[in-house]
Symmetry: C2
Subunit: 299 residues, 2 copies
């Protein structure tokens, strides 16, 4: 086995609102790390937690721990140590997983293996976390039930751990999407030395909240524009879905991996030999890419 | 091999002054983690760094990295990943090391193995970091050269990595002293279910700055009291030396381990069957233990 390690630091006001429910925060702090393991096809083993708190609040700590440990139990990932200190709220989790070696070669999924001609896929739904953020910031109004569903995606993402492991030996490259689909795709393209074409409207169709507008008897007027849906899906961030490439010859195996892990998988584009990232609409016509990915050092 | 993992979080204003030289901070952030590996007899392998910074300051980052990576190189410990984000200054390092298995049993030094009758030892010098802190806080005046030497102990501790490995199979229990000698000894006693007697004046003699008062032509008047020296050595904290127990039958091996690793080792007491911690003076008379260890959640 090869050891896979990932470390993420969450800061109040930057990665979560100060008003977030502490059990949701506990869940998310571990989920974002498990998502990194999923992206390399690793099976979770254990994690450490370093926590800075302004003061000891037993009620807050109880709820935070419940959210954290419930997700840990779900994935058989044990808390094996860490650190606590007084300071501005900061949560740093380091997670350990394992990836099998085959004939001495690691089976880990990397960002660097995408090849021209590969299909590009994503797991699950996209953009609902970003939509929830826009509603919470007062930029958009949606019915309470729509917000509640979207907010679950923002605050309790489901790391695609089973899918990641099922894609070993099938995907040529993979990454988990934390900072926006196009931004994180850029990491695969750069490290693989390739370009890509992405079907923007296929991605825009992956926003789960969109189903509400399709079915509601009296949807809010005006509804979000197609540009809104594209922006949430392509540049929203906080999705914690997998984005991966696989050879055309493995389409059947990709579908089987999705089924085996109970995760929907959607083909959203292809890898090109020509560098750069191209967006096309539903008619195959080029679209301007004016999407900016989330920058944790930005303002 | 067995994997050993340690995680420490350093917060500005709590673990370091905002005015600390950034290369010293880089050194210390890794040193405190390597010290944890030393305490269990592990050989360093690699580490991750998660860093929250209020803003990107290339000069600061350059100096921080130099201090960090110089110590990493010294111990062959590679930076293998991590995270960066905007936020109040916070440094979280998780370090990985390995400990050999012998006949399927881990050779790791634990806190739980001390037995009644064992000798108690410490490595190196004690209390200079606490003395430097008192000078920096204006509670004490010392010549600039004495402060400079003591401050090196506060800001650039030397993790006892070689000694820790040399003590495998010799020490019955070990811990690294970060929060004060007596406070950290308490962890060994609790986990081993034993008590101890400590020679307070032997410990007080381990403050390196004391040599100045012994040799100076005109030492500051009045000099620190014996109580001051005891307090710095026994409850100062930030020493990052090893405190360990070993059977009487291994005195020769302990001395050899110290020599082989180039580290002075001093016997400062013994493990008792009777619970509790007893301090004695140079004449073997009992002393009150009014020392309080550093609490990272305290004010």
């Amino acid at each position: 086995m090869q050891l896979a390690v990932s470390s993420d630091m969450l800061v109040e006001g930057r990665h979560f609102f100060s008003t977030v429910e502490p059990s949701a925060l506990g869940h998310k702090a571990l989920a974002v790390n498990l998502s990194d393991l999923a992206a390399c096809g690793a099976a979770p083993l254990a994690f450490t937690l370093a926590l800075a708190l302004p003061s000891v609040d037993e009620v807050w700590l109880g709820a935070f721990s419940r959210g954290l440990l419930a997700l840990a139990d779900e994935h058989g990932c044990e808390l094996v140590g860490g650190d606590t200190t007084r300071g501005p709220l900061n949560i740093c989790i380091t997670v350990f997983g394992e990836v099998p070696l085959q004939d001495g070669c690691s089976q880990a999924l990397l960002r660097s293996g995408a090849r021209a001609g590969d299909d590009l896929y994503v797991s699950g739904t996209f953009g609902d976390a970003a939509l929830a953020l826009d509603v919470l910031r007062g930029r958009l109004g949606v019915p309470a039930a729509v917000l509640a569903a979207a907010r679950l995606r923002l605050e309790r993402p489901s790391p695609r751990v089973a899918l990641g492991q099922a894609l070993r030996g099938i995907a040529s490259a993979a990454i988990d999407v934390s900072d926006g689909l196009l931004g994180d795709l850029g990491h695969i393209l750069k490290q693989s030395g390739v370009g890509a074409t992405v079907a923007a409207d296929t991605a825009a169709g992956l926003v789960a909240a969109r189903a509400f507008y399709a079915c509601a008897a009296s949807p809010p007027d005006p509804p979000p524009s197609q540009d809104d849906w594209r922006r949430w899906a392509l540049a929203g961030g906080d999705d914690y879905e997998l984005l991966f490439a696989a050879p055309l010859s493995k389409r059947g195996e990709v579908a089987a991996a999705g089924q085996a892990s109970g995760t929907t998988v959607t083909r959203i584009g292809q890898v090109d030999a020509q560098p750069g990232l191209r967006l096309i609409d539903g008619q195959g016509q080029p679209l301007a890419n004016n999407h900016v990915s989330f920058d944790h050092f930005g303002l």
